[in-house]
Symmetry: C2
Subunit: 166 residues, 2 copies
DNA sequence: AGCTATAGATGTACTATACAACTATCCGGA
DNA sequence: TCCGGATAGTTGTATAGTACATCTATAGCT
């Protein structure tokens, strides 16, 4: 293995390790900032906002969740008043999900808290590094459609996924 | 708000969003690569390897887990034969935890799988970007000692391996 | 009409987790 | 020397998130 190959391998390992650390932390703490909205709930609501309303199956496909999981999450969020179901005129099996004003509110609050937490971590970084980090993360998550670290690899019909997935 | 401020805010939001996406995916898929070792188990074993043996309380502090959670995880990993407890000569309340050969093996296998998954996602990236991404992630996770995303800030000896733990 | 695919809900089971209470041990005074 | 508080870990209990299998209703093709 050449030096360059070794360096590359070490960088990939570091990425793997650091992403894992982040995942662990995010998971452990997600619920503490806003106990009323877990990480999953947050991502589901965020997708509703981005998409302007979608079906439960879209949420399941997007996040690699089982439809039963989404069904229960949706019910909980509905009971909390954060989203509402509307009939889908073209398909009576499905229901369009939409954020309610309360859902929009809570989403904004949580987003703000999370933004603040991240901003704190980025305190002292130069603008170029912040911009570069954002760009690399976006590229990483957009990734090859062939599933990386557990990406969902679903055939998406929606090309805007790379931006909207949360 | 100036243009520059706006761009900075958008970058921070993107980081927040993309890290969240990653966390969601990692969590959803972590167990699938190696069903015998969850994300948490993996990180615990990895820390045992890095530290060359430590106490349960260190694992709890490092990952922001409750000691009861760690206690149960440790018991499960012990029953799987991946770690063993040794008495701590200087403190009879505590037990030093050490990887067994089987634990070392499985850890290497999972690390390899995860490495491969990440490498696949990074296919097509230039060496400089990979190196830069690794560096930024390390810096992000090392973070300000003052808790960002909810980090707890623990002091530890190995600067390379993630730091603060939340 | 009939067959199959799809959207979602429900029954069930399991894992990870936290918090509280408990045991055993350690340590710093008085 | 003994005691009270701190610490390491275990166990009891409760909860969330999740998957898989199954069920209902609807779509849509042939």
């Amino acid at each position: 293995m050449t030096d360059s190959e070794t360096r590359h391998r070490e960088a990939v390992d570091a990425i793997q390790r650091e992403m894992t650390v982040f995942a662990r932390r995010a998971r452990a703490f997600a619920g503490r900032l806003h106990p009323e909205l877990t990480l999953v709930s947050y991502t589901l609501l965020a997708h509703l906002e981005d998409s302007g309303g979608c079906l439960a199956k879209d949420l399941a496909a997007r996040y690699g969740l089982d439809k039963s999981t989404v069904s229960r999450q949706v019910r909980a969020l509905e009971q909390l008043g954060f989203l509402e179901r509307r009939s889908a005129p073209e398909d009576h099996r499905a229901q369009m999900l939409h954020l309610t004003p309360a859902g929009t509110d809570i989403l904004a609050q949580v987003t703000e808290s999370r933004h603040a937490a991240v901003a704190e971590r980025l305190a002292g970084w130069g603008d170029a590094d912040v911009a570069g980090f954002a760009e690399l993360l976006i590229r990483y998550n957009a990734g090859p459609e062939t599933s990386g670290d557990g990406s969902i690899t679903q055939e998406y019909s929606n090309p805007d996924i790379t931006e909207t997935v949360r």
